[in-house]
């Protein structure tokens, strides 16, 4: 048997058969021009600062706030089926905070948000908790911080 994370057929089968929640409507917001937009990162790599992090299993739906200055981040996504060496070498391969700051310095984007947010990628099958609880709470924080555009990354 080949290693799951290196097996394109296994990943394709997973993508095709994974039970997914239904979203009958697709909201689609057009933001202000990128040159004046504030951009935040939300990652599902379970990144966190020193401390308890995330629980094992699929029941931890809380999110962590990561200040834009923080680089001492831990990879809390516990699955063994993705490549972690990239994050060990460079956090930007999962959490491209330095790239966004460079783009803000060059004027390509308006600004980088003061805070970014992290969830665990492994969630309950219904994803009811992040849909109804922590997801909307995170959205409110970003709206309160005048974020316009959210870049979502995972592992």
């Amino acid at each position: 048997m080949s290693i799951f994370g290196k097996d394109e057929k296994a990943i394709a089968k997973f993508s095709e058969t994974l039970p997914i929640p239904e979203f009958p409507e697709c909201d689609f917001n057009i933001p202000k021009p990128l040159k004046s937009a504030k951009v935040a990162i939300v990652t599902t790599a379970a990144l966190h600062l020193e401390g308890p992090g995330y629980e094992l299993g699929d029941s931890d739906y809380h999110f962590e706030s990561l200040s834009s200055a923080a680089r001492n981040l831990k990879l809390g996504h516990h699955s063994v089926n993705f490549d972690r060496g990239g994050f060990a070498a460079d956090i930007n391969v999962v959490y491209p905070i330095d790239r966004l700051e460079e783009m803000a310095d060059r004027g390509e984007i308006g600004s980088v948000a003061e805070n970014h947010y992290s969830f665990a990628g492994n969630q309950s099958a219904s994803v009811a908790e992040i849909r109804l609880d922590s997801g909307p709470a995170c959205a409110k924080k970003m709206l309160d911080e005048h974020v316009d555009v959210v870049l979502l990354t995972g592992t």
Binding site: F4, P21, A88, D148, T155
Partner: protein
């Protein structure tokens, strides 16, 4: 990610998803997705390649010019999980032959680990144990490999899983410090399980647990699915 994109758009934010799983984004009708055919874990494709990462982000931002969704666009460059060169990363010679080779190895790599933490200002070790505990943890895995029952060594199902996370993080961070070339996809995982004494003893312990009829949910996650 895909669920959060819907939730955030419903709240009034504009979202961009970088995803290596195109079909999930399609099936979930994600508002805006850039399909990145990169190995799982490498959202921006290449570590320490600023130009490439910036190219990926710029491609995602291009989607903001679209006026209707859902929309998925393909990033034009793919990265294979399988065709990279193995990591060239020398391991230390035996220092103390009285110790189990994995314990001796982990102790000898401590200085490199500390340099890695110093240079990167981060570590993912600490889910269950600290760096100082890695040799003792490997000694326990050596005992499991020799037939000792995992629970008599003080492990719970959660702690043994988290402990392997920490052992692997310790070694992968060391590899990034010691390797001369850029870190290729899956290179540190392959190095850990195929080249190091630590990876060898973790796999031996995993096989021993399987042979002892330990519940699969306890031992299976000690290595990637498919690794024997």
């Amino acid at each position: 990610m895909c669920t959060l994109a819907h939730v955030f758009e419903a709240a009034g934010l504009a979202t961009l998803v970088l995803t290596p799983m195109r079909r999930i984004a399609e099936r979930m009708g994600v508002p805006r997705a850039l399909y990145t055919d990169f190995p799982l874990g490498l959202s921006l494709g290449k570590p320490a390649d600023e130009a490439f990462q910036t190219q990926v982000i710029r491609s995602a931002f291009e989607l903001l010019k679209e006026t209707k969704g859902p929309i998925i666009r393909d990033f034009p460059i793919s990265i294979s999980a399988t065709d990279s060169e193995p990591l060239q990363c020398a391991l230390p010679a035996r220092l103390n032959p009285d110790l189990h080779p994995a314990v001796d190895e982990a102790q000898a790599l401590r200085a490199a680990y500390e340099r890695a933490v110093e240079s990167s200002k981060k570590t993912s070790v600490g889910m269950r144990i600290d760096a100082a505990d890695i040799p003792d943890a490997l000694a326990k895995f050596a005992q499991i490999a020799q037939g000792e029952h995992w629970e008599t060594l003080g492990f719970s199902a959660e702690s043994i899983y988290g402990t392997v996370h920490d052992i692997r993080s310790y070694y992968e961070e060391v590899a990034c410090e010691l390797a001369a070339a850029p870190i290729a996809p899956w290179a540190t995982e392959q190095w850990f399980y195929e080249q190091t004494k630590a990876g060898e003893v973790v796999l031996k312990a995993r096989r021993a647990m399987r042979d002892q009829q330990v519940a699969q949910e306890v031992w299976f996650g000690l290595a990637p699915a498919g690794r024997q």
